[in-house]
Amino acid sequence: MEKKSVKAWLYLLPAMLFLGIFLIYPLVDVFVYSFEENYNFASQSYTGTGLFNYSYVLRDPYFLQALKNTFLLVVITVPLSTGLALLISVGLSSIKPLRELYQTVFFLPYVTNTLAVGLVFMILFKRTPYSDGFVNLLLSLFHAGPVDFIDGPYGAKMLVLCLYTIWVVMPFKILILTSALASVNQTYYNAAKIDGTSGLRIFFRITLPMISPSLVYLIITGFIGAFKAYSDAVALFGTNLNAAGMNTIVGYVYDMLYGNSGGYPSYASAAAILLFAIVLTITCINLLVSRKHVHYIS
């Protein structure tokens, strides 16, 4: 028994070392920094300890803006992208001709480079001296617009950011959900059909519970992913996100460390810990809520 456990620890050692050095230690370090005032990397010094960093960050209008942006992004994109992905997956599962083609088309954004997608969105939305962008062209057909989606009103910018995020995260969700749908045994549907079950009832009483583990997985990772959003905003609005009013929490952390206003590891740490706390809380709530509604089939 003793020997066995030594062996087990030996096998675990590489992963534990790796995780310890690159995950646990930095996490603890960040936690410590967040309580040290004016920590300086170069001199490894600080001027005091306490909750000052937190109170500063929580009063910083840039942080509050980032917080608002992130929350809006989460609340809008997670349900929308998951719901749309579910609709598309159900559609994909119920058609036969050309199914593979459609699956490929819907999966393409996943293998496309983020910046390439950003470029496409620029063509769609960005106003240049030569064109108002494709979407404004469409809007003008209905005698609306033009709207400046990239440098214009907050709502327009948020809309583009949300569209972009949904577009980027959906392929993976479709992939997971189509395979979840395919793994539901056809005899359940046959049984339901013989019993005269309506299509809607089959979906809500059979399909949905059967794929609920995948769905919950997608919702939880979706929440976490959206809270960590940053690169999407950069791809659309450039690196000076504070000026654009489109910063996210991760963007704020980055700016505090390296941005124009950078050089504040203490504030960055406090913001990072706040994000960690938010994500942890939301994930716990997710798990608690889903426990009631998810059916894991052993």
Partner: protein, 363 residues
């Protein structure tokens, strides 16, 4: 409900790029299932039994032919309008619903005039559960039940909406041997009690023989014989039916008829003066052998298996179609000990003759 199959045919396109044409899974079925009977559709895997069942419940549309429930033509009705109950091979119980919810499920689908109040549904579900004796399991999930219990829940769910006919697709194949015996008795009891016309698919001839009122023996989509189990066993129409029914299976020998006598090898075993000379296959049921010291039929003894009441004698003979034959004799019979030869006489009533090429029965 009487069920009539008229010229029922189902063809599937052949699979694969190279294969052409089509597979005829159900080939011109033409028979009547009498009201209130339990019918066993029996045949080896791939013979079209399940296809036939799916045609009856409406999950498949026939290529040709009609299906009548009573006098009503249901051929073009979708499954939900046929009012059939089905028990699937893997039971298809919804794993996330409790037993009660599973049984209620078909009732909650009823619409319009058929719609039931909650109390009525509850009562119907409890009655169905009582019938299959699972009343105390109502709050469990299917995953917490044994195979036999799941089977009962599946039957209750199929019966709760009071179907016109009950269809069962290999209902016992997922149960262990002992439970299978119990459950088939149970199915018999429930069917007798409810008097619902039941069609039951199986590849296990013993299962079909033991509980069916009528068996339909199928091979390659073609009905070979329909009849009461004992009649089909005693009077098979062809070699396939004879060899498919009965455990241990019938022993087959190459034989011939020569001037009114049936020979196996050089041994004349039967007088058949009316039959012309021809090559034949002789079938002898295992219980048709009588060991005798001066018996006409000598063969090499391979082994003796004592099974309590009976003794199974394994022998080889040059004319035997299979590698070895098997005779069932009573434990009291005198078997030669320490010899590798054994001699038998045949009981003439247990001998069946089949045409050497067409495999049809010769009478």
């Amino acid at each position: 409900m009487k069920v009539t199959l008229q010229n029922l045919t189902k063809k599937f396109p052949a699979r694969g790029k190279k294969s052409q044409g089509e597979v005829i899974a159900v080939n011109h079925f033409d028979f009547v299932i009498p009201d209130g009977k339990l019918i066993g559709l029996l045949g080896p895997s791939g013979c079209g039994k399940s296809t036939a069942l799916n045609l009856l419940c409406g999950l498949l549309k026939p290529t040709e032919g009609r299906i009548f429930f009573g006098d009503e033509d249901v051929t073009d009705l979708p499954p939900e309008k046929r009012e059939v109950g089905m028990v699937f091979q893997n039971y298809a119980l919804y794993p996330h619903l409790t037993v009660m919810q599973n049984i209620l499920f078909p009732l909650q689908n009823l619409k319009g005039a058929q719609k039931l109040s909650k109390a009525e549904m509850d009562q119907r579900a409890r009655d169905a559960a009582k019938l299959v004796q699972i009343g105390e399991l109502m709050d469990r999930k299917p995953g917490e039940l044994s195979g036999g219990q799941q089977q009962r829940v599946a039957i209750a769910r199929a019966l709760v909406k009071m179907p016109r006919i009950l269809l069962m697709d290999e209902p016992l194949s997922n149960l262990d041997a002992r439970l299978r015996l119990q459950t088939r008795e149970e199915i018999r009891r429930i069917q007798r009690k409810t008097q619902i016309t039941t069609v039951f698919v199986t590849h296990d001839q013993e299962e079909a023989m033991s509980i069916s009122d009528l068996i339909v023996v199928m091979k390659d989509g073609v009905v070979q014989q329909i009849g009461k189990p004992q009649e089909v066993y005693d009077d098979p129409h062809n070699l396939f039916v004879a060899s498919f029914l009965g455990t241990p299976p019938i022993n087959l020998f190459h034989g011939r008829i020569e001037s009114g006598r049936v020979y196996v090898g050089d041994v004349p075993i039967l007088e058949q003066p009316a039959l012309p000379d021809q090559e034949i296959t002789v079938g002898v049921r295992p219980e048709g052998f009588v060991p005798k010291e001066d018996g006409a039929f000598g063969c090499t003894l391979k082994g003796v298996e004592v099974m309590g009441r009976d003794v199974s004698v394994v022998f080889t003979h040059p004319a035997c179609v299979a590698a070895a034959g098997r005779a069932i004799v009573s434990a009291q019979s005198q078997l030669p000990s320490g010899q590798n030869q054994v001699r038998f006489d045949f009981i003439p009533e247990k001998i069946r003759l089949f045409h050497g090429i067409t495999e049809e029965r010769i009478r």
